[in-house]
Every structure is written in structure tokens, then in C-alpha cells.
Amino acid sequence: MTDREERPWIVRMLPALRWAALALVLVSLLMVFLYVPADKQLGDIQRIFYYHVASAWNAFFAFFIVFVSSIAYLATGKRHWDRLSVASAEIGVIFTTVVLLTGPIWGRVSWGKWWDWDPRLTTTLVLWFIYVAYLVIRAAVGDDTRRARFAAVFGIIGFVDVPIVFMSVRWWRTIHPTVIYADKMELEPSMVVALVLSVVTFTVLYGYLLGLRYRVAALADEVNEFKQRLRDYR
């Protein structure tokens, strides 16, 4: 990165985040697969739950970050907020996809069916569509400033919609309850520790990926800037 632009803290912290993420992932894998006991009712397949919850937390957190940086971009007009938005949105979509893949696996085992329109999973599905739409908007706009502005607007609209989606789906499921709902899980203390650890691990992982993606966005901006200057010199 050029010395003109001060490296934002997320990029400066990249080496630390890399090692922290590596260490935490290793510890978490050991904990989840070796240390923690299998669930009494569901057996070993229950272990997916640790990463399902961790991904879900990070998906919503990533989109919250998109919301905040979208507002910041519209308020300040500073480019780095837009870079943060796109980085967080892309990683958020990945985490959301993971939730939507692990959720049905989990559901098949604990409820007996692949998909049950339960409020949290359904809201996550809508979340996926909203943030894929966010990425499609970004792809559909050529001009940088316009793209940043439109994406920021949609980042705000999308996030504002999420609580309403959750409310309406929860009410929907309250009046049309599905027959099977065996969601009871007794968590031993060691399981709680493993859960907290996997959430922390994925959050650090999110931070690391965020820094990487942000750096790519910043570099892309620099390349475009140079291209523009070359064009101007002709």
C-alpha cells in the first residue's frame, strides 16, 4: 500500500490476526472433535452445532458491519467505508451459506427433516437473498462512486428489513406450528466452553478475512487510480 494513504488498523493487524486465527482454529477443532463429549441423544453429528452457531453469529455480525459502514459512507463520502462494506458483505454471504448448509444437516438429524420453516433458519435464508442482492447491485453498476452509494443505500434498507422479517416469520410459525420440534439440548459445561470458543474463533477468522478482503479492495482502487492517470496522460 502506498505511503500516502495510512494503512487502516484492520490491515495493520493482519499478521496478528493471521496467527490468532490459526491458533484458535486449531484449538477449536481439537476441542470440538476430541475434547467435548458427544451429545447423549444425537451422537457425534451434534458437533456441527458449534460451527453452525458460530457461523450464524458472524453472518449477522458481518451484515451489521455492512449496515454501519453504509451509513458511515453516506455520511462522510470516504471511500474506505465502501471497501469495508463490500468486504464484510462478501464474507457475510459466505458465513450465511455455511449456516444454510449446516442447518439442514443439523435439522435432518434432530428434527428428521431437511428443512423446517423455523424462524431463525428462515430469516437466515431471507438474509442470504438480501445480501446476494447487495452483491448483484454492486456488480450491476459500473461507476465506482455510484456503486458505493447505491450499495450503501441497499445495505441500510436490507438490514432494516431483517428484524421485520424475523418478527413476521416468527408470528407465522406461532400460528402454524410444525409438528416436530425437538430442539432440546442439554449443554454440559465443557460444551458451553467449546461453543464460546468456536464463536470467538469464527469472529477472529471473520476479522482476518475482512482485513484481507479490505486490502484487496484498496489495492484494486490503487490500480484503477493508476489506470486513470495513464489514460489522462494520453
Partner: protein, 225 residues
Amino acid sequence: MRFLSRVWAITWKDLQSDFRTKEMLSTMLIFALLVVVIFSFAFDPGSRETAAVFPGLLWVAFFFAGLLGLNRSFVNEHSNDALQGLMLLPADRSIIYFGKVGANLVLMLIVEAVTLPVFAVFYNTGLPERWPLLLLVLPMATFGFIAVGTFLAALSANTRASEMLLPIILFPIAIPLILSAVEVTAGVFAGGDIAVLITWLKIIAVYDLVFLVVPFLLFEYVLDV
């Protein structure tokens, strides 16, 4: 008061240009009626199962017809730099937003008013006892859809794939509205606890409020020449 008369001026302008050619209204109407007919082939109109999904079919027809109208509400303004003209008006730019919401709302309500009886006839539903509730839910749900739809149409009109983009960005956002509208309509036609319907209507009301205020605040950012 001046604000309202300005909004009305834009609504009236849009409606007049539509009614002159009748192109938009007729397209939306024909499309909605076509959807009725296609659904009649896709789902057996006589069976009990179809009666259960009838509210859903109704709203699918309405929302897709509404989408057609929304698509063109800003694309029209590209010719002759009409949008630039609107932006140069010595007035708050939100009149463009509210004006177009008004026009799109009128068009979609007309389509609904015509299509609903046709649907009811084709599916032999008869006049439900709670039909006055329809007079409440149809405008409320349509308003929410048009409020957020007009805003997103303004956004997508400025992009490359404007017509393909709008459904992708609108429908995920509109999901709570679609759900609530269908549930209320189902309650009207099939009966059920009134208190439940009231709650759904409250959800629609919240949605309408939120997606009128937030687009109003952000409209300036999607206006582009």
C-alpha cells in the same frame, strides 16, 4: 399544503402520461389476468387444495403485475432528460418519490380491483363474509410494496440490468409483506381467529411506516442523472 400539491402534480403527470397511451395499465392488467388463467391450468380450480392456496395465487399475480409497473416508473424519465428536469424543480426532491409512489399505487390498485373479481369468479370463491377486510389489507399491503418498490426502482433504473435487477432486490425485502398479505387474505376467505389477522395487519402497518420513512430519508442518494 404546497408540498402535497406538488406531490399531486407529479402523480397526476405520471398518471396522465399512462392514461394517454394506456400502455402501462393495459399491460399490467393483461398480465395479471394471464396469471389467473395460467394458475388455473397449473392448479385445479375446483379442488380444496387450490382453495387453500388461492390467497397466495392472488398476491403472486398482484406483485408480479405491480413489478411491471414499477420497472418503468423511472425508466420513462430517461428520455429527453426528463429526470433532470424534475430534479431542477425548485422543490424538495422527495416530491418525486412521493409523487411516483402515488401514481404506482393508483395503477396497482386499479389492477387489483379488476383482477380480484375475475379470480373470484374463476375459482368460485363467492363473496366472503369478511370482505370489508379486503378493503383494508389490499391498500395497506399494496402501499408497502409500492413504497419500497418505487425507491428500489429508482435505484435499479440507474444500473445496467435495470429490469432484471429490480425483482432480485425487491422481493427479498418484500417477504414480510408478502407473507402478511397472504395470511390476512387467507383469513378473509377461509375464516380464522380475528385477533390473528389484526396482528398481521399491525405487521403490515409497521412495514409500511418503516419503508416509507427510510426510503424518504435515502431518496436523495439514488437520484442520478
